[in-house]
C-alpha cells in the first residue's frame, strides 16, 4: 500500500473524535498532530540522553581535526584551501552518520514494545516513522550548526552569498532526511539496536569514503572513479561545495535533488511496507 494510504485513521472513537464522514483534511490535521506528538517524544528522549548527543557530536569534530591538521598536507585541493574543500564533505558525512541513529532508535522502539502500543492506538500509522525521521532531522540541524561553527574556527569560510550558503546547508539536511528513510527501513528489518548500529554504518563507509567528500576523485584508480563520480554522496558534496564557494552549482544541485527524491520515494515506501509487517 502507498504511504498516503497509510494515513488511515480511527474515527468515531469514544473520546468524541471525528464523525464517520470525516473528510481527509481533518484526517490530515490529526495525522500532523500525531507526528507532532511522536516527534516531541523522540526529541525529549534525545535531550534526556545528553551524553549520547555530546559523543555523537565529538565524532565529526574529530574528523574535522584529523583531516584539517593530519591529512591536509598530503591532499591537494583542486583550487584553493583544503579546509574549504573539506567542510562540505564533513557536513554531508555528519548528516548521514547522524541518520544512522534513526535505525537504532526504531529498532529499540520495536524491541521495547512501544511500537506495539502505538500500533494498537487509533493514530495515523505513518506517524511513528514520520515522527522519528522529523526528530532526527531536527537533531541534525543542531549538529550541523555545531559543525559550521567548528569549521569556522579552523578556517572554513562560505563564499557563495547568503542565499547560496543557506541553500548548501539546506541540501545537506534534505540529503540526510532522505537517507533517514533508508535507515528506518534497516532498523525495521533488523529489529535489534546493536545490529541496527552496525548495519546502518555498512552502506555509509563506501558511500562516504569512495566519494569526493575528502579527496579529489581524480586521485582514485580508474575503476573506482567510475563509481565515485556518479554516486549520491559525491554529487551532493559537489553541490554543497559549489554553492558554498560561489561556483556554478546548478549541474550538481539538480543531480543531487534527483537522488534525494529517489531515495525519499523508494525508502519511504519500503519503510512503510516493512512497518506494516512488523
Amino acid at each position: 500500500m502507498s504511504a498516503v494510504g497509510s494515513l488511515e485513521h480511527a474515527v468515531g472513537a469514544p473520546g468524541g473524535q471525528l464523525p464517520d464522514a470525516a473528510e481527509s483534511r481533518g484526517r490530515f490535521r490529526l495525522a500532523l498532530a500525531d507526528i507532532g506528538g511522536v516527534t516531541r517524544r523522540n526529541l525529549l528522549r534525545t535531550i534526556r540522553t545528553p551524553r549520547l548527543l555530546v559523543f555523537s557530536s565529538i565524532q565529526p569534530v574529530m574528523f574535522v581535526l584529523l583531516f584539517r591538521y593530519v591529512f591536509a598536507g598530503a591532499i591537494h585541493a583542486p583550487n584553493g584551501s583544503y579546509v574549504d574543500y573539506l567542510m562540505p564533505g564533513i557536513f554531508v558525512q555528519t548528516a548521514l552518520f547522524g541518520g544512522a541513529s534513526t535505525a537504532v532508535g526504531l529498532a529499540a522502539d520495536l524491541q521495547g514494545g512501544i511500537i506495539d502500543r502505538f500500533r494498537s492506538l487509533p493514530m495515523a500509522r505513518s506517524a511513528v516513522l514520520a515522527g522519528r525521521t522529523v526528530a532526527d532531522l531536527l537533531r541534525n540541524i543542531f549538529v550541523l550548526v555545531l559543525m559550521v561553527v567548528v569549521g569556522m574556527l579552523v578556517g572554513f569560510r562560505f563564499h557563495g552569498g547568503l542565499g547560496h550558503d543557506l541553500a548548501s546547508l539546506g541540501i545537506v539536511l534534505l540529503f540526510g532526511y532522505a537517507f533517514s528513510w533508508l535507515f528506518a527501513t534497516i532498523g525495521l528489518l533488523v529489529r535489534d539496536p546493536e545490529t541496527a548500529q552496525i548495519a546502518g554504518f555498512l552502506p555509509l563507509f563506501p558511500l562516504v569514503f569512495a566519494s569526493s567528500a575528502f579527496v579529489p576523485v581524480e586521485t582514485m584508480p580508474g575503476w573506482l572513479q567510475a563509481f565515485a563520480n556518479v554516486q549520491p554522496v559525491s554529487v551532493t558534496v559537489n553541490a554543497v561545495r559549489a554553492l558554498a564557494s560561489g561556483a556554478p552549482a546548478e549541474h550538481w544541485v539538480w543531480q543531487s535533488l534527483v537522488w534525494i527524491a529517489g531515495f525519499l520515494v523508494v525508502f519511504a515506501v519500503l519503510a512503510v511496507r516493512q512497518y506494516r509487517r512488523v
Binding site: 485513521h9 472513537a13 492506538l121 487509533p122
Partner: protein, 339 residues
C-alpha cells in the same frame, strides 16, 4: 442473540513452520471477563496480537467491539485498550508524559488528556511518582503505568496479556481489585495469565489453549467438575506404609491415585463428600497405618491445568527464566487451598 464483544472464529496463524494458532474459537460477552490460560508458547500472545490488530490471522475471522480486526482495524483500535505482555512504557518520559502522549494519540484535547493522565495516575497509586522518569520505576510501577496507558482512551474493551506477571503478591491483589472495579464499571475484559488463581478470581469464563488449540472451556467450576468430583488426600506418617496406602486409596477412590513420595501424600478423585473421608480414615485405622493428615478438597485450577496439559503451570513457568518468580508463590497457594 448473544452480545459478543469479542468473537474469534477459526483463527489460525503460523510463523514459518511453527503453528502458533490452529483454529481457535472464542467469545467474550459484554461486561464479562474471559481468562485465557495456557502454558508458555500455547499461542496466547499471538491471539492477543490478532485481536488487537497488531497481526493479521492466516485464516479465520475476529470481531472486536463489532468491527472486523482486519478490515476495520482503525475502528477496533479506537475501541480497545491493550496492555501487552511486556510493559510498553517510554523509560525516558515521566509517567505523566507517557499517559499524556497516549492521550494525544487518541486525539483528546490538551486539557482533557492532562485531566485523564492525572486521574489514571491517581487510580493506580502513581501520583507521587507521576513526574519522575519511568526509568526510575520498579517493575510493579511500570506494569501499573502500562495498564494505566491502556485506560487513557476510556476503552470499552480491555485486553491484558499477563497483567500481573512479575508482581509481588500484595501488588497483584491490589491490581486484581482495580481490575474488578473496571469490570464493575461495565468494561469487557480478556486477560491471559499464568496464575490460575488469577483466572479463578477474575474470570467469568476460562478458555484453556495448548499448542494453538482450545483444549477446554467453561467456568472455573465447570472445569473443576471435569476432573470428576473432589480430591481425597492422605498423608501417611511412615514412608514404609506408602505403597499399602496407595492400594487402599485406589480401592476407595474412583480414579487412579497419584503419589508424592517426598510429602508421603497419596491423592485420588473421590465422590461421597465427608463420608468418603470417614470411610478412608476407618480403613487406615483398621490396617494400623498412622495418618498425619486426611482431607477432601475441591480440585484447584492447578489440578485442572495439570490434567489438561500434562504439566503444572509452575513446571512450565520454571522453564523460563522470565517467570521463575511465579514458582515461589505456588506452594503457598496450594497449601492455602488444601486447608
Amino acid at each position: 442473540m448473544t452480545d459478543a464483544v469479542i468473537e474469534a472464529r477459526g483463527v489460525s496463524k503460523s510463523f514459518g513452520t511453527t503453528r502458533a494458532l490452529e483454529g481457535v474459537d472464542l467469545v467474550v460477552e459484554r461486561g464479562t471477563v474471559l481468562g485465557l490460560l495456557g502454558p508458555n508458547g500455547a499461542g496466547k500472545t499471538t491471539l492477543v496480537r490478532i485481536l488487537t490488530t497488531l497481526l493479521a490471522p492466516d485464516a479465520g475471522t475476529a470481531r472486536v467491539a463489532g468491527h472486523d480486526v482486519v478490515r476495520e482495524a482503525p475502528r477496533v483500535r479506537a475501541a480497545i485498550g491493550l496492555a501487552g505482555q511486556f510493559a510498553a512504557v517510554d523509560d525516558l518520559l515521566t509517567g505523566r508524559e507517557n499517559l499524556e502522549l497516549v492521550g494525544l494519540l487518541y486525539h483528546l484535547p490538551k486539557a482533557e488528556r492532562k485531566r485523564r493522565a492525572g486521574e489514571v495516575l491517581e487510580r493506580l497509586g502513581l501520583t507521587d511518582a507521576g513526574d519522575r522518569l519511568a526509568r526510575t520505576y520498579s517493575g510493579g510501577m511500570r506494569r501499573r503505568l502500562d495498564l494505566g496507558a491502556s485506560l487513557v482512551g476510556r476503552p470499552s474493551v480491555l485486553i491484558l496479556d499477563e497483567p500481573t506477571t512479575g508482581l509481588d503478591p500484595a501488588t497483584r491483589v491490589d491490581l486484581w481489585g482495580f481490575i474488578e472495579d473496571l469490570v464493575a464499571s461495565g468494561m469487557t475484559l480478556l486477560l491471559t495469565t499464568q496464575y490460575l488463581e488469577e483466572a479463578d478470581r477474575l474470570a467469568n469464563r476460562i478458555v484453556v489453549i495448548d499448542h494453538g488449540r482450545t483444549i477446554a472451556e467453561g467456568t472455573a467450576s465447570e472445569l473443576k467438575d471435569q476432573l470428576g468430583g473432589d480430591l481425597l488426600e492422605v498423608t501417611v506418617a511412615d514412608p514404609a506404609a506408602l505403597d499399602r496406602a496407595v492400594e487402599l486409596v485406589a480401592g476407595l477412590a474412583h480414579g487412579s491415585p497419584t503419589v508424592d513420595r517426598v510429602k508421603r501424600l497419596v491423592s485420588a478423585p473421590a465422590t461421597g463428600k465427608a463420608a468418603a473421608v470417614v470411610a478412608a480414615a476407618s480403613r487406615f485405622q483398621a490396617e494400623g497405618i498412622d495418618l498425619e493428615e486426611i482431607s477432601l478438597r475441591r480440585p484447584s485450577l492447578d489440578d485442572v491445568f495439570l490434567a489438561l496439559t500434562g504439566h503444572g503451570a509452575e513446571d512450565v513457568a520454571a522453564g523460563s527464566g522470565e517467570r521463575t518468580a511465579s514458582a515461589g508463590g505456588a506452594p503457598a497457594r496450594r497449601a492455602r487451598r488444601a486447608s
